[in-house]
C-alpha cells in the first residue's frame, strides 16, 4: 500500500505539534494539519485514511465524525471508555500516547493489505516468532504492546493456516524470511 494519509484537525497548536512529533517516526505516514474541520467537511471529506482530532472538534462536527468513527482518533482529556471512537488520553505519558497511536496505525496498515498477504509488520513479527522469541521480547524489539503482538500473531495464523511455532518457522524458511533454525 502507499502512504497513510492522516489529517490532524485541531486549533490547538501545541496538540498538533505533539502529535506530529510522534508520527514523524512512523514510516509511510503523511500528515496534514487543518486548524478547522470545515476544511475537511466541505472539500472531499474522505480523502484522509485517518483523522486525528480533539474532543471539542469531534463534538462540534459530530455529523461528520460519527459516520467515520472507524477512522477517527479522538485526543481527549477525560476517560471515554464508553465512546465508540478510538481515543487517546492527552494527559498520559508521551510514550503511552505514542504507543497507542502506533498500535492504531499498525492495525490500520494491516487491515488494508490483502486478506491473505502478510503485511510488513506481520512479517517482522513472524521472523521473530520463527527465531524463537517470546511475545514480550517481540513487543520490546518492535516497540509495540504485547496485545498488538498477539493481534499480529492471530492474523498471521488466520492468513497462513499455520498455528504452531515450528510450523511458522518452516513457513518462514520456505519463504526466505529465515535462513536457518
Amino acid at each position: 500500500m502507499g502512504n497513510i494519509k492522516i489529517a490532524i484537525v485541531t486549533a490547538d497548536s501545541l496538540l498538533y505539534l505533539g502529535i506530529r512529533y510522534i508520527l514523524a517516526d512512523i514510516p509511510a505516514v503523511m500528515t496534514t494539519h487543518l486548524r478547522c474541520a470545515n476544511d475537511i467537511v466541505n472539500d472531499n471529506p474522505d480523502r484522509y485514511d485517518v483523522v486525528i482530532t480533539d474532543a471539542e472538534t469531534c463534538v462540534s462536527y459530530s455529523d461528520y465524525f460519527l459516520p467515520r468513527r472507524h477512522k477517527t482518533v479522538v485526543i481527549t482529556s477525560q476517560d471515554t471508555g464508553n465512546s465508540s471512537f478510538f481515543s487517546v488520553d492527552r494527559c498520559a505519558a508521551p510514550s503511552v500516547i505514542a504507543e497507542r497511536l502506533i498500535d492504531y496505525i499498525d492495525r490500520l496498515k494491516d487491515s488494508v493489505t490483502s486478506q491473505s498477504e502478510l503485511s510488513q509488520r506481520e512479517i517482522d513479527v513472524l521472523k521473530l516468532v520463527a527465531s524463537g522469541k517470546i511475545n514480550k521480547e517481540i513487543a520490546d524489539e518492535l516497540q509495540i504492546s504485547i496485545n498488538t503482538v498477539l493481534t499480529h500473531r492471530k492474523n498471521i495464523t488466520a492468513k497462513l493456516g499455520i498455528r504452531s511455532v515450528s510450523g511458522l518457522s518452516v513457513y518462514a524458511m520456505m519463504n526466505g524470511y529465515l535462513t536457518k533454525l
Binding site: L160, G161, I162, R163, S164, G167, V170, Y171, M174
Partner: protein, 192 residues
C-alpha cells in the same frame, strides 16, 4: 449416518471408508459380510454400546456419546492404546515412505518439500514420545493435531516448486487421514 445395533456394518464402511482403520483396532478386517453391528459384537465379544459410540464419534463431529466412554473405561483405554500403536505401526511409516518417495521422485530440487518432511519428522518424534511413555491416563494430543493442520496448510496453500503430483496427493491424503484419526482420538479423550 448414525450407527445403531441394527445397522449393517458394511453400510458404515461404504459410507465412511476410512473407518476400516477403526475396525482394525477391534480385529475386524475387510470382508465383513452382511452382519449387523449387534451380530458382529456378539461374535467378537465386543460391548455394543461402546462400539457404537466409537463408530459414531468417528463418523460425526456432532455426536455426543453420553456416558458410553466413562462407563467403559477399560475398553476405551484398550482402544486408545491400540490407536496410537496403529499410528506407530501403519500410519506414520506409510506417510514417511510416501514422503521419501515424493522427494526422491520430484524432479529438480524442491527444498520446500525437505523442510516439510523435517516438520513431519518433528511430529513423528512427538508421537513416538507418547507411544514410548507407557501412558496410564490418555489425554488429548492437541499440539500434534495443530502441527498436522499446519502441515496440511503447507501442502494445500503454500507448496511451490516442482514435485510429483500423484505422490504429493498420496502424502497429503495420508496426512489428512492421520489428522482425522487424531482429531477423533482427542475427542474421545475429552469425554473421559
Amino acid at each position: 449416518m448414525i450407527v445403531n445395533k441394527d445397522t449393517k456394518l458394511h453400510d458404515v464402511v461404504i459410507s465412511e471408508p476410512s473407518i476400516t482403520a477403526v475396525l482394525s483396532r477391534f480385529d475386524i478386517n475387510l470382508g465383513i459380510g452382511d452382519k449387523t453391528v449387534r451380530q458382529m459384537c456378539d461374535e467378537r465379544g465386543i460391548e455394543p454400546t461402546f462400539f457404537i459410540a466409537i463408530l459414531n464419534t468417528y463418523i460425526s463431529d456432532d455426536y455426543a456419546p453420553a456416558d458410553a466412554f466413562r462407563l467403559n473405561g477399560e475398553s476405551v483405554n484398550r482402544y486408545l492404546k491400540r490407536t496410537i500403536e496403529y499410528y506407530d505401526k501403519f500410519l506414520i511409516p506409510n506417510i514417511e515412505q510416501h514422503f521419501n518417495l515424493l522427494i526422491h521422485r520430484s524432479s529438480g530440487i524442491n527444498s520446500n518439500l525437505e523442510l516439510m518432511r523435517n516438520f513431519f519428522f518433528e511430529i513423528k518424534e512427538e508421537l513416538a514420545l507418547l507411544i514410548n511413555s507407557d501412558v496410564a491416563v490418555f489425554k488429548p494430543i492437541d499440539t500434534i493435531e495443530d502441527k498436522l493442520n499446519d502441515l496440511v496448510s503447507m501442502f494445500v496453500i503454500h507448496l511451490t516448486g516442482s514435485y510429483n503430483i500423484n505422490l504429493c496427493q498420496a502424502v497429503l491424503f495420508a496426512i489428512i487421514g492421520l489428522r482425522k484419526d487424531i482429531s477423533q482420538y482427542n475427542r474421545i479423550c475429552r469425554y473421559l
